[in-house]
């Protein structure tokens, strides 16, 4: 079991054994978090900088919590109010930060590929906290851990991903991760929110939600961005809920023990019915949040080990 990566930029370049290594460690952190037995010195002496070029309360809080639990010195930089507004390029920002010698850099950026670009210019470990529509690897990993804990395995499951797949980095990372672990993936979306060429990704494509949910083990819902609701991609919010909102009737097509997931924040009454989201027998949405901290602890721990080894060499 190994984890060789220097950065966590995406799922695309991870090997299945690296994914398993990370999830195994995250599992122990999840238990340690519950038991209150977290080793507080794993990241002691290391500096973690959270750079968010795009607003995020949940993901930023999760990364901050993960770093602090393991003893890192965590600094949050809200890039929307900083020098970026004054015209500084991403490369210059990266070089400036690099000169301060951080150890772990957590980056979210609205442009696809921006985190890859930044990672080329710094000497520390970079974690992608979401870049444009490209990848959101820690979200896919926390989803994977949640599924593995709920279903007892992470292979040969039938998993439906529903909603705005075209604009979703969560969907891309999940398609790649679940595919690498040999699951059967079904994508359900109105055709205007389905990316082109998606059939080549090795997933089954459905525009009819009931057919798509038939017999699945896991239902992953995606958030529909407010700005896409009115007329541009879909006719209206209510038509979307009518055809693609997850309610008890549609969920009835999935397996009786199918779990319901959502990366949050939810639009109740748009993509998911409130009663489904709160149903403790079906919804694992709160578990996803809990696993998020554990997965980020594991990711930073592994990257810090590789960073220390590289620096020692």
């Amino acid at each position: 079991m190994t984890f060789r990566a220097r950065h966590l930029l995406g799922i695309e370049h991870l090997h299945p054994t690296e994914i398993t290594t990370l999830l195994d460690l995250a599992d122990t952190y999840a238990e340690a978090n519950r038991a209150g037995t977290v080793p507080r010195d794993r990241l002691a002496g290391l500096t973690q900088i959270n750079m968010f070029f795009e607003n995020s309360t949940r993901t930023q809080a999760s990364f901050e919590m993960a770093g602090k639990k393991l003893g890192a010195d965590v600094m949050n930089m809200s890039m929307q109010t900083s020098s970026v507004k004054k015209g500084e390029t991403l490369i210059d920002t990266a070089l400036t930060l690099n000169a301060m010698h951080p150890d772990l850099l957590v980056v979210r950026h609205p442009s696809s590929g921006a985190v890859d670009l930044l990672a080329q210019k710094v000497n520390c470990a970079v974690l992608n906290a979401g870049d444009g529509r490209h990848e959101h690897p820690t979200q896919a990993l926390l989803d994977a851990l949640t599924i593995r804990r709920a279903k007892g395995r992470l292979h040969r499951l039938s998993i439906a991903i529903c909603g705005d797949i075209a604009h979703s980095r969560v969907a891309r990372s999940n398609i790649m991760l679940l595919g690498k672990m040999e699951n059967r993936i079904r994508l359900i979306a109105p055709p205007t929110l389905m990316p082109t060429g998606i059939a080549d990704f090795g997933a089954e494509v459905f525009t009819d939600m009931r057919k798509g949910l038939e017999g699945v083990d896991v239902v992953m819902m995606l958030r529909l961005q407010k700005e896409r609701m009115d007329g541009g991609f879909i006719p209206s919010e209510r038509e979307y809920f009518h055809r693609y909102g997850l309610d008890a009737e549609k969920l009835g097509h999935a397996k009786p023990d199918a779990i319901v997931m959502h990366p949050g924040p939810m639009n109740r009454g748009v993509e998911i019915d409130g009663t489904i989201a709160d149903d403790i027998n079906r919804s694992v949405i709160q578990t996803q949040v809990e696993m998020g901290v554990a997965v980020r602890m594991a990711a930073m721990d592994l990257l810090a080990q590789n960073l220390r080894a590289a620096r020692a060499a």
Binding site: T89, L90, A114, R133, H134, R172, T196, G197
Partner: protein
């Protein structure tokens, strides 16, 4: 008086489509003999079997004067062209400001005459400021030396304005060059839609945007009878429309950039912005279809679409980065890839790079014929090398071929009979 005699050269004749060993004599800027004896007093150049061809005429070169001289000047573009075997550059008007008045055109002509060592034929904008609202002074610009009219990558969306400009240009027999991308469908896109775009999370445009714009322009040509050239046809779906328009007798020709002939959408790989072009790189199927169309003559002209960009405008996240690549110095070796892969013959390649552009612009150049201008290049089509972008003579080094293994080197370039590139011992 200059008198030069080339012996033992492989003469590339794009008219007869032959490549045969022979000799050629030039005097006072003109070709005066083919396969004649060496005149006494002539400087004799033994080509040693290397190819002698009419110089390349490159339609659509961006020289960033006026406005962005730090990206490319007439001096640097001229040197790059000479090194690349390009003897005539047809410059784009998408400068800052646009070349849309006789005064700005005169500036370009003056700067070019002072600094560029190759022929410079300027294009002018079709509409004022390339804004698509009012036509430029096409007659005055034509008399001032503009060889074609184009708004470059800005498509005239107002068809009333466009139809009038085409009608007016037709009455003056002026060539209009159109960019065939539906501007609304392609708005905000940085790559071609498809699996790769989806995987990378980049906004893609359907290849159909090209067909839509070409169909519209063809309808307007039927209506106005204008003389028209589509700057870049890069997709399979646009080809039947082009073929039909030609068969119906419209005065239409089409070009393609060297990059769309030699690269595909997967080359963008991990967000390499030097591969961000307008239109974006296409699928491998499209690339192959376009090569086939070139080989059979449906696509007439290959251009470098030389577009200098500095590091600052390229070292950005992919969707924020500027489009375009430099190509003057890599046009020939990249195009020779097609010859080495047996996709096209050498004389046919020069038909697309020299003869057809000359014909479209009404020039005597582009041929190996007695009386034609002595704009010539001598090159070894086989010499291998690995491109190092820092060695480019362009001020901007944004080439997608950095580190690529290429074959074919220019040994010498002559403009009006004067050698402007290469050593005397070639």
């Amino acid at each position: 008086m200059t008198l030069t005699h080339f012996t033992n050269a492989t003469l590339i004749d794009p008219v007869a489509l032959t490549e045969e060993t022979g000799s050629l004599t030039i005097r006072d800027g003109l070709i005066i003999a083919i396969d004649g004896a060496a005149p006494k007093d002539a400087q004799v150049i033994d080509a040693g079997g290397a190819c002698l061809a009419p110089g390349i005429i490159d339609i659509g070169v961006k020289v960033s004067e006026p406005g962005e001289r730090h990206k490319e000047s007439f001096r640097s573009a001229g040197r790059a062209a000479a090194a690349g075997g390009v003897t005539t550059i047809v410059t784009r008007p998408d400068t800052l400001p646009a070349i849309d008045t006789p005064e700005t055109l005169e500036f370009v002509a003056r700067r070019a005459a002072a600094d560029a060592q190759v022929h410079v034929l300027p294009m002018a904008a079709l509409t004022k400021g390339r804004m698509g609202q009012e036509m430029t002074e096409i007659g005055l610009l034509l008399d001032g030396g503009a060889v074609a009219f184009s708004d470059c990558d800005r498509v005239v969306t107002n068809t009333k304005v466009y139809a009038r400009a085409l009608t007016y240009a037709a009455s003056l027999d002026a060539l209009v060059i159109g960019h065939v991308q539906d501007p609304v469908l392609s708005d905000g896109a940085s790559v071609t839609s498809g699996k790769f775009a989806s995987l990378r999370g980049l906004s893609g445009v359907s290849p159909m945007a090209e067909r839509m714009a070409l169909d519209r322009d063809i309808a307007l040509l039927e209506m106005t009878g204008a003389k028209y050239h589509a700057d870049q046809i890069t997709t399979a779906r646009a080809l039947p429309a082009l073929e039909r328009a030609k068969r119906n007798g419209l005065d239409i020709t089409a070009g393609v950039s060297i990059h769309h002939l030699t690269l595909n959408d997967l080359d963008v790989a991990d967000y390499r912005t030097f591969f961000k072009l307008k239109p974006p790189l296409r699928s491998e199927d499209d690339r192959r279809a376009v090569i086939a169309a070139l080989a059979e003559g449906l696509i007439d002209i290959i251009s470098s679409m030389h577009t200098p960009q500095d590091e600052e405008s390229k070292r950005l996240p992919f969707e924020d980065a500027a489009s375009g690549a430099v190509g003057l110095e890599t046009l020939l070796p990249a195009a020779l890839r097609l010859v080495h892969e047996d996709q096209i013959s050498l004389p046919r390649l020069f038909r697309a790079m020299s003869l057809n552009p000359a014909r479209r612009l009404g020039l005597d150049a582009g041929r190996l014929r007695i009386g034609a201008p002595a704009d010539l290049i001598l090159f070894d089509p086989h010499m291998p090398f690995q491109l190092d972008r820092s060695t480019l003579l362009s001020k901007s080094k944004n080439t997608p071929f950095d580190g690529a293994r290429l074959q074919g080197r220019v040994l010498g370039t002559w403009v009006d009979g004067t050698r402007i590139f290469g050593g005397v011992d070639a």
